[in-house]
């Protein structure tokens, strides 16, 4: 199956700072998604982005499918942005039908 590497594993920032989270895939994927897992464990959909660039408020994401990576940008961080960010994809080479997740980036935004 595919491997998903996320970096950095941990990130501590002051409120108002910008950040970039990265996700590398070992092979081509379909169905690439970014999630925010809040302190109650709920996975919140941020982006469905198999390729290209999308923006939603202070968040944006870019996927370069040919190079097998995706980036999540968070601008003007707020304390409510704290939590774990996951990227995940489905192996386009015919592996499992479910999402393979990275280990996540644990983000802490300090006031």
């Amino acid at each position: 199956g595919i491997q998903v590497e996320q970096s950095p594993p941990d990130l501590i920032l002051q409120e108002g700072a910008n950040s970039t989270l990265r996700c590398n895939f070992s092979d081509s994927v379909n169905n690439l998604q970014w999630f925010h897992q809040n302190p109650w464990g709920q996975l919140i959909n941020l982006f469905y982005i198999p390729s290209g660039t999308k923006q939603n408020g202070r968040l944006s994401a870019t996927t370069v499918a040919t190079e097998r990576y995706s980036l999540l940008y968070i601008s003007s961080s707020q304390t409510t942005d704290s939590g774990v960010y996951f990227c995940a994809g489905i192996d386009s080479g015919g592996g499992a039908d479910g999402l393979t997740f990275g280990k996540g980036t644990h983000l802490i935004i300090q006031p």
Partner: protein, 115 residues
């Protein structure tokens, strides 16, 4: 509209007991997935249904794990003879499209603790 719901939200089982976890997907979604999330890890895929057909069960960790979706809507994940290593959060997700092509939406999860 209503999202994916799961019940119970918390379950404590004694080792050796059987448990059943329920998932109500978003209405009309053809695809349903189960995942297991251990503490401090990302979710791991267990099994996939397209309508009532279980098309992929490659992630089920043992034959003690069984899932069904008999009418193509509600799904149940059953774990027989629970072991301590089964303690985890079990997440259900649904999608309006087939597995490789649709955005997945997750429920709040069931936290299972085996004592």
């Amino acid at each position: 509209g209503a999202g994916v719901s799961q019940s119970p939200r918390y379950k404590v089982a004694k080792r050796g007991q059987d448990v059943a976890l329920r998932c109500d997907p978003i209405s009309g979604h053809v695809s349903l997935f189960w995942y297991q999330q251990a503490l401090g890890q990302g979710p791991e895929f267990l099994t996939y249904f397209q309508n009532e057909a279980q098309l992929d069960k490659s992630g089920l960790p043992s034959d003690r794990f069984f899932a069904e979706r008999p009418e193509g809507s509600v799904s149940t994940l059953k774990i027989q003879r629970t072991q301590q290593e089964d303690s985890a959060v079990y997440l259900c997700a649904s999608s309006p499209r087939l597995a490789a092509f649709g955005e997945q939406y997750f429920g709040p999860g069931t936290r299972l603790t085996v004592t």
